[in-house]
Symmetry: C2
Amino acid sequence: MEAAAAHRVVLVGAGFGGLYAAQALKRAPIQLTVIDRRNFHLFQPLLYQVATGGLSPGEIASPVRHVLSRQRNARVWLAEVKDIDVENRRLRLDDGDASYDTLILATGSHYNYFGHDDWAALAPGLKSIEDATQIRRRILLAFESAEREHDPEQRRAWLTFAIAGGGPTGVELAGALGEIANDTLRHDFRSINPAEAAILLLEGGDRILPAFPPDLSAEAARALMKLGVRCRTSAMVVGLDSAGVTVRTGDHVERIAARTVLWAAGVQASGLGKILSDRTGAPTDRGGRLIVQPDLTVPGHPEIFVIGDLANFSHQTGQPLPGLAPVAMAEGRYVARAIQARLRGKTVSPFHYFDKGALATIGRNKAVAAFGRLHISGFFAWIVWLFVHLMYLVEFDNRLLVLVEWMYNYFTRNRGARLITGGR
Amino acid sequence: MEAAAAHRVVLVGAGFGGLYAAQALKRAPIQLTVIDRRNFHLFQPLLYQVATGGLSPGEIASPVRHVLSRQRNARVWLAEVKDIDVENRRLRLDDGDASYDTLILATGSHYNYFGHDDWAALAPGLKSIEDATQIRRRILLAFESAEREHDPEQRRAWLTFAIAGGGPTGVELAGALGEIANDTLRHDFRSINPAEAAILLLEGGDRILPAFPPDLSAEAARALMKLGVRCRTSAMVVGLDSAGVTVRTGDHVERIAARTVLWAAGVQASGLGKILSDRTGAPTDRGGRLIVQPDLTVPGHPEIFVIGDLANFSHQTGQPLPGLAPVAMAEGRYVARAIQARLRGKTVSPFHYFDKGALATIGRNKAVAAFGRLHISGFFAWIVWLFVHLMYLVEFDNRLLVLVEWMYNYFTRNRGARLITGGR
């Protein structure tokens, strides 16, 4: 086998960081193995659209195998990494193992319930396709239950939706829920008026979208209010059960009866981060992210790169770079360049991120966007949001489908993918 | 409440029969309650496309509540019927009850494993969205497992797909599988050649598509062979486990190692048929279908109509009408007409079905079609198939999306919705 002589790069995780690294290694004289426990790359920024019935799962996911099918130096394995033998440079998989000369870890993050792991079942987060269809089921079932409920207090609890976390995901979920209640379901019920739904966005900090400039946070709160969403800032979720949430604002503790609680409040690095830290002694931060060197490697292991949400890169501003797709993509491309330089006996300068700005959408025709000192909001920002998101969808057919679906949704205020699947 | 005085029609099941009955009752002076345990109408004829990654679930399903949102005399309940109190004209639901003056039962059928209920977990049938995504998962995982399998015999078993039942669903599944192996996955693997997959269509009768004229059966078998599908007729499945199937052809018994077995061989009426038979003494046939009167009612109960796959109507030809969507739709419209006539004190003549013909598609550009004595096959039949199926999709946005998706699939031979979801 001639390939056995080639430099073996193993890449774990086919999210934005991993996939961009793989594609940037297209012409490298290596043997690349891409390992993911799912068979598809997921376009996470649009996952909230699946959760709210605007898009179907297939429209925001692309089979990894297909994306890389023409890349002859790459093979794709559907497997889960269980352990890392850094001494012998070998990964232990759920069904075998994989040896590497260079390892790239890009396994991302999942939601963090501040130590209350039992809350995960009560208030689903939004990281996977299954999360999204579960949230979709809960939202739709809440309206169905309200329609058949005779007790007014119970009906109110079914029509109350609380979202914990006022970052972009929380804002986008809240905006979409506002639209569903006010427009999409307007004519669908006989006993209830969906527009009477109460949608609460609970943020622990003093404003929503804390990573954005303050003027855009205020703009987003105004746009959400028009969609019937109430933003509660400085509001910490301190209790959660199947009947509602307990919220503390300063010294004031309040109980809110809400049958549907969604979680968008803070993430935790994937478990592989801890395993790598245990095996190499590499430090992690509070969120479990590996604190990487200026070249995105782990201390003492120049053959191990960590990128995306799994990495804490603080060499540029003293603060870790945010967990955003553009950061992961830039890191992926940097690692590909670094590997190729090394194979030619060269070195590369430390990683540097050029800020691409931040975008969040609110409902069907408003968004906020910050590009350095340029802040825009409203319809124009939404057009920018639309364009950016369509361009980064990995496959052309997905782009076309999503565009058709969005055009239809935009003009009819309908949401076609409102299916309750997977049991009740 | 003024509606309390109106004639109460309760309709159970929002498949083709139920939905067409509901819509045909649009202007009737009644109070209509549509009960379904799912919140969507499913376009069953295209379910095999979801199972083979060509379409997403949302594209072939429409929320019942939305379809009927403008129909002011109709309300929709998401509930399951547990029992029927024919004496007091009341349904017992999983969470309440519903009284009727007239009842329409249209709950359809599910797959029948000839008494081997344990086979259901081994060889999934294709009736629900969950079935379709499960079959999709199994097909895709079989190729993934073959890619990583070193033992040639095991690899062969992973690449062998057996489909039990040579009716339209079996033929359509086999054709789509042939395309997946020969076209869609062509460049995606490194260790296996997907085109080496063995696809077997097992039919107990002496030809596939037994409900079609013999010349079209032969035509379909030829078209399947070109896609690499081998048709085995007079082949009864007599054993089934996770490693393969046992098939009897006459006196010859053969074991076929196949890790993926799909079931498309014979249906059984929904459980509500037996409940109604127990409560009214109405006779059922071997498949559990209720043998209905010439006006589609149950003997002794002119207020109970049974339509679609749950009904056995043999008054026209001596043979029961086939379990096809056009039959269910015609029965639904007839029942709506009968109810409105009765309310005006009139009677209607017995139900009569005008044969709409039969259609089955084989792969991406061939089909067979029988309209009375007119038999067509090949590309032209496929265009007819395409047109008929697009026209009957319930919602306009679904039609548009499906058309875009099909056009893309047709020209690129790709299948975008190849997601493995729901665990492994």
